[in-house]
């Protein structure tokens, strides 16, 4: 009976360790990232069990047409078009699937108001392949994002 308990304990312990290790792997996505066009910086954070990316810096924060901070003027929901682009969560609902991949998310392009299905692959600690697509992943485009390196304190 004691042997059975020990086996059961080991099984539960191993399972929870694997689960916890897998979740920690997912958190490697957390940080500030820069898309290849250099127009923005996006802070990825975890809310609940999913990952979200918020625009925290814009190369051109002011809309030249209005002279005011850029807003989400292409949002399909007209009543939300005053939402500021700075602070906007352009990456939403990514779930860690293991093997340095996050899926089931969406990426929003504020320049045209379109939302695409999206997956993220971490090529190395400081490089992400972010793929946006419509329908099937084959019909899409991949952008390379680099982790923002914080200056080291002396």
């Amino acid at each position: 009976m004691n042997t059975l308990k020990a086996v059961l304990f080991l099984f539960v312990f191993s399972f929870s360790s694997i689960l916890s290790f897998s979740q920690e792997g997912g958190d490697k996505l957390i940080g500030v990232w820069e898309p290849s066009n250099g127009k923005a910086k996006v802070k990825i954070e975890k809310i609940g069990s999913k990952y979200y990316g918020k625009i925290v810096w814009l190369k051109e924060p002011i809309d030249p047409e209005t002279g005011k901070p850029k807003v989400d003027r292409n949002n399909p929901d007209e009543s939300m078009r005053s939402t500021p682009i700075k602070g906007y969560r352009m990456l939403k609902d990514f779930e860690y699937t293991g093997k340095k991949e996050w899926s089931e998310g969406t990426i929003y392009d504020p320049e045209n108001g379109s939302t695409y299905s999206s997956t993220i692959k971490m090529k190395d600690e400081n490089t992400l392949d972010i793929r946006g697509f419509i329908g099937v992943s084959a019909l899409g485009r991949t952008d390379v994002w680099k982790r923002l390196q914080m200056p080291k304190r002396k």
């Binding site: 609940g48 979200y52 007209e78 009543s79 939300m80 602070g87």
Partner: protein, 178 residues
């Protein structure tokens, strides 16, 4: 032979359509305004830019509307109609220290949805603001879950070294149900 039966088929089809329409009119959905109060909070310090405040919300379908306990399948739509936000505690506080305010809902099973925005925050804002509800965002999916999270974002003009902040949100919804 075929040409004789065709009018009969059309007549039967028309009767069926009338029957379906009659059934639909018997099951017309109802609507009711519901309200709730939540407190969102987070710990400081807060840095210039967007900072988030959270509140977990447990759904109780048995007391959501006054008429009857609801089942998840009864809910057709739930839309936010009004949202007012009040700061809790700090007496020298005013909303002028923020550029904008927005409200989202998020859960493990449904995609994050933005439900209200106020940008910019008016210069005469004091300790209470009204944020504008989305006309399209439908929260039915969220209220069919056992719980979800309200996520309130405030865009700080400057860094703020408060230990913590809390806000009281009065929310009104229009629920359509069967």
């Amino acid at each position: 032979m075929f040409s004789i039966k065709k009018p009969l088929r059309i007549s039967a089809f028309s009767s069926l359509l009338i029957g379906i329409t009659a059934l639909q009119s018997c099951s017309t959905s109802k609507s009711e305004q519901i309200s709730t109060n939540i407190t969102v909070s987070s710990e400081g310090p807060y840095f210039s830019g967007s900072n988030s405040f959270f509140s977990e919300y447990s759904v109780d379908l048995t007391s959501l509307i006054s008429e009857k306990p609801l089942a998840a399948d009864d809910i057709k739509s739930i839309k936010l109609s009004k949202a007012s936000v009040q700061h809790i505690e700090n007496s020298d506080f005013d909303f002028n220290q923020f550029n904008s305010a927005s409200l989202q809902v998020v859960s493990d099973n449904a995609p994050m949805t933005s439900i209200a925005i106020l940008n910019p925050i008016p210069e005469n804002a004091t300790t209470t603001i009204q944020i504008n509800a989305s006309k399209e965002a439908d929260l039915a999916e969220y209220f069919k879950e056992s719980s979800f999270t309200y996520l309130f974002d405030l865009d700080f003009k400057e860094d703020d070294y408060s230990d913590a902040m809390s806000f009281s949100l009065d929310l009104e919804f229009i629920i359509e149900y069967n």
